[in-house]
């Protein structure tokens, strides 16, 4: 069966089509699917476009809800989302940022997917619609663990609580080419402070495993500590726990392991 193209006008139409057709793939910005088509990896199945206006909606009242079709450029236009500007700016050049969506980024293979690293450090939930029911919230970490299996349904949106203090959220992407290049690695950290101590640390790495991962060992050593030299030294020592970086055209596994603690420490100490 060759490629078939259809347009769905509502979430439930799209979710129904996806539930009924194992080959269906949702075309969002196109930066992943069109590449697979151009390179001959995707030759069959249903390509579905969703034109529901809610797919591209940003809702900032209370918990932040970003429609899965919200582009990186749309995030960069919202001052209220300033803490997400660094990860949005880290995705491609201006044309890619006009196209690439946050929903698509959840499916980007390593070393892509830097925006998802930021969402992981915000403890985001993915809203997934399976068949015709209401969307259900899936923790992002769980969603990423099941991503390779596929068949999770339609991603309608991403939700998270915004950081109380934007300065508590930090992001860094390391690439060899500036201003745009693939990730050697990326790091995001949400470190809410309570009485001068970290309370509820969330740290995430990109390009350190097949999917973006939580750095739970780093979170543990930072929890309850002031963000001082001793804590940063402990975080450096814990950085490599559980990582499984790969060797690719950008960096070797060895190099990624070597530089991860350095960049983590720079992020934590606020160095450029």
């Amino acid at each position: 069966m060759p490629i078939e193209f259809r347009t769905a006008s509502t979430f439930s139409d799209a979710a129904g089509l996806i539930a009924g057709d194992r080959t269906a793939r949702l075309l969002s910005g196109g930066t992943l699917i069109m590449r697979d088509i151009n390179e001959g990896r995707l030759t069959d199945g249903l390509i579905l476009r969703l034109v529901d206006p809610a797919y591209r909606q940003i809702n900032l009242s209370g918990r932040v809800e970003l429609g899965a079709g919200v582009t990186m450029a749309a995030i960069l236009k919202r001052r209220e989302l300033a803490y997400l500007h660094a990860p949005a700016q880290a995705i491609g050049g201006p044309a890619v940022r006009n196209m690439a969506s946050i929903g698509g980024n959840l499916f980007a293979e390593s070393p892509y997917g830097d925006f998802t690293v930021a969402l992981l450090a915000l403890d985001a939930q993915v809203m997934v619609m399976q068949g015709f029911g209401a969307p259900r919230a899936v923790p992002l970490e769980e969603f990423l663990a099941g991503r390779a299996r596929g068949g999770q349904g339609l991603v309608t949106a991403v939700q998270f609580a915004p950081p109380q203090n934007a300065a508590d959220f930090r992001f860094r992407k390391v690439s060899r080419v500036r201003p745009k290049g693939l990730a050697v690695l990326s790091v995001a950290a949400h470190l809410p402070m309570s009485g001068g101590r970290v309370s509820g640390a969330r740290v995430a790495f990109g390009a350190m495993a097949p999917v973006p991962m939580r750095a739970k060992a780093v979170e543990r050593v930072l929890e309850g500590k002031a963000l001082d030299a001793a804590a940063i030294t402990a975080a450096r020592a814990a950085a490599a726990e559980g990582i499984r970086p790969v060797t690719d055209a950008i960096a070797s596994e060895w190099y990624r392991r070597e530089v991860l603690p350095v960049h983590l420490a720079r992020l934590l100490s606020g160095q450029d």
Binding site: P2, I3, T31, M34, R35, I47, M99
Partner: protein
């Protein structure tokens, strides 16, 4: 599978075509409509030489499904000059020797046009970000950056964008 009819504006003219369900916009422009301005470089969104404007937004035509362009306005580098009169950016690229092999130039000019439309007086850093999705393997970028800054400084440039 049947071909899909698409009607859209290309550089100000109404165009209609039949496209395959997996055809990208670049293929439609080059093979279907004989607009050879945008080039096919990498096919994966890395090089930027296929860059066009869709409803005023910079997009990569090789990553845009042609069937989604129904009712849109697509602008390519081919629409920049008015007859024999070059667009100020094109003139600045010539004046500053900003093209060598020329393969990146369609994308560079289009990216520069979008940048100046949004930001008529960019800093050098903003110009660099504006063309960061476009790879040039000849010039070392400096001549291109200078050309865009010069076009931005020119009074005519501001009026045209």
């Amino acid at each position: 599978m049947a071909k899909i009819p698409v009607q859209f504006r290309l550089n100000g003219s109404d165009r209609a075509a039949f496209v395959g369900p997996s055809d990208n916009l670049l293929t439609l422009l080059r093979r279907g409509l004989n607009d050879f301005g945008p080039k096919y470089g990498c096919g994966q969104g890395t090089c930027g030489t296929c860059t066009v404007l869709v409803d005023g937004d910079l997009q990569l035509s090789c990553l845009t499904l042609a069937a989604t362009c129904e009712g849109k306005h697509v602008e390519t580098v081919s629409g920049m000059a008015e007859g024999p009169v070059l667009h100020p950016l094109q003139q600045a690229f010539m004046d500053h020797f900003a093209a060598q092999c020329g393969f990146c130039t369609p994308g560079m000019l289009t990216a520069a046009k979008a940048l100046l439309a949004a930001n008529p007086n960019p800093t050098r850093a903003e110009v660099i970000d504006g063309i960061s999705g476009n790879i040039c393997r000849c010039t070392g970028y400096d001549a291109i950056i200078e050309a865009i800054l010069a076009a931005a400084r020119g009074g005519q440039a501001k009026r045209t964008y």
